[in-house]
């Protein structure tokens, strides 16, 4: 099923759909940071408390999708290089957009981003002190939960971290604006009359994802640099800034 040239595209598209769906849910979840400390902490706690098979099953599934997606991309690109050993002396592009031509580059940087992001906020080895952030805000009666809210605000105090997140989300935007419409082509579920609509839809989706993810580092950075004051000033205490 997946061994032929078309089969590899099916695999790219199917794993791509999973990742497209995941980024939306993840973005919607993150936006609860804007609703306040109790909301995001409670949400994160609820996710962490999912039954083991569901939590680790979904994590494993996502990991397998990313690996299959990246691996197939590498195979496709290597085969394509081999298919034209000698390129044209004059290289002209008539129709293909930049985001489609740079799928490999945006994907590779995204892969690095995914690894960093997991080490940063999930496994928390980049700044191990995030592990110690506990609070009763958003926690069930008489319990303490991990203070995701403070961790995120602290995390984006580092300008380079925020910039890297925003750049990565911009690349994700480019990756999706070609990728999401490409899915319909690769799986053959479109016709010429739908093409423009699908391409516009994919672009719109990609920008929603970009804005939805980037708004948090943008707001935190804006507040740190004294442009905006969105979050509770008390959370921008000296101790937070040091972290």
């Amino acid at each position: 099923m997946f061994s032929s040239s078309l089969g590899k595209k099916y695999l790219m598209a199917l794993t791509g759909i999973v990742l497209i769906g995941f980024v939306f849910v993840h973005m919607a979840g993150n936006l609860q940071v804007l609703l306040g400390q109790d909301k995001i902490n409670a949400y994160a706690h609820a996710l962490q408390s999912l039954p083991m098979p569901i939590l680790w099953g979904s994590r494993l599934f996502l990991l397998v999708c990313v690996i299959l997606h990246a691996w197939t991309a590498i195979v496709l690109i290597r085969e394509n290089r081999a298919a034209r050993p000698q390129g044209n002396d004059v290289e002209v592009t008539k129709r293909a957009g930049l985001s489609s031509l740079k799928m490999g580059l945006s994907g590779t940087i995204l892969l690095f981003f995914i690894v960093f992001h997991l080490l940063h906020f999930t496994i928390r080895t980049v700044y191990p002190e995030y592990n110690d952030m506990m609070t009763t805000v958003g926690a069930p009666e008489g319990e303490e939960v991990h203070d995701v809210y403070t961790m995120v605000l602290a995390g984006f105090q580092h300008i380079w971290v925020s910039v890297f997140y925003i750049v990565a989300m911009f690349l994700l935007c480019g990756h999706l604006s070609h990728g999401f419409s490409s899915v319909f082509q690769s799986l053959g579920i479109r016709s010429d009359s739908w093409r423009v609509k699908i391409e516009l839809g994919a672009k719109a989706y990609a920008w929603v994802i970009f804005l939805g993810f980037s708004i948090i580092p943008i707001l935190v950075l804006g507040q740190k640099l004294d442009f905006i004051s969105f979050f509770e000033p008390s959370l921008f205490s000296d101790s937070l800034a040091v972290r």
């Binding site: 081999a82 298919a83 034209r84 000698q86 293909a96 419409s181 799986l187 053959g188 093409r195």
Partner: protein, 250 residues
């Protein structure tokens, strides 16, 4: 008009190849690109050097024999036009024109600008036909064909098999050609009976010939002298997936 021509010369598949630059004076704006090359070859013969080899046949845009990547564009700068139908008025006086062969591993260079496109023939032989008993022609309206389907099949059948799709594709993929040939027959009642077998065999042959994988750039359709739509590639993807799934259950 006067032209500086940078032309690819290569003695055979094993040769490295190189560009050769020639100046050509007195080119008529009304001549076709191939007539301009004829004129260059006469000049080369007079100088006592080997003429440049290039493919051509009908010179009226219907056979698919002419090729050439001109200034980086398969069949040159004019949309929906083969090299033989391209006129020199599309170029300016004194311009440097770079002429290269259709480059792809699956299209080995025979000599100079001539490439071997028999990989396309093999794809067609793998399934680009209908198995029928030959005999007298069937009655014209014996099999009803919906107008919409016959129009789409006709658009696909416009493919002349020139290989511009492969030459213009950054990945040297033959998807536009294969999808046009398969789509043309898959759309018609006469061809539907062997649809699955056809699609699987043609894609397998395409892969075996060393073409690249489609990445949905759309460069092929933009270069196609017959404007074959990316729709056929989507249809081939769909038909191939369906054939694979059906094969599991039979």
């Amino acid at each position: 008009m006067k032209l500086i021509l940078r032309v690819w010369r290569q003695d055979g598949a094993e040769d490295e190849g190189r560009f050769e630059t020639h100046q050509l004076d007195g080119v008529s704006e009304d001549s076709s690109f191939l007539e301009m090359l004829d004129q260059l070859n006469e000049q080369l013969l007079e100088e006592g050097t080997e003429p440049i080899l290039f493919d051509h046949d009908c010179r009226e845009g219907i056979c698919g024999t002419c090729s050439l990547t001109i200034n980086g564009l398969a069949h040159g700068p004019e949309d929906s036009t083969t090299t033989c139908q391209l006129h020199m008025r599309k170029f300016s006086d004194g311009e440097t024109v770079t002429i290269e062969p259709f480059r792809a591993r699956a299209f080995p260079i025979v000599r100079d600008l001539v490439v071997d496109r028999s990989a396309f023939d093999r794809i067609t032989q793998a399934g680009g036909y209908i198995t029928v008993r030959t005999g007298s022609a069937p009655d014209g309206n014996a099999i009803p064909v919906p107008k919409d389907d016959s129009d789409k099949a006709m658009d696909a059948a416009a493919c002349i098999g020139c290989g511009a799709c492969v030459a213009s594709c950054k990945n040297a993929s033959a998807m536009l050609f294969t999808s046009a040939k398969a789509g043309h027959l898959n759309l018609l009642p006469q061809g539907k009976a062997e649809k699955d077998k056809r699609v699987l065999a043609m894609v397998e042959e395409m892969d075996n010939s060393g073409f690249g994988n489609c990445r949905n750039y759309g460069e092929c359709s933009a270069a196609c002298p017959k404007d074959i739509s990316l729709d056929y590639i989507a249809k081939l993807n769909r038909d191939h997936a369906a054939a694979k799934v059906r094969k599991i259950f039979t």
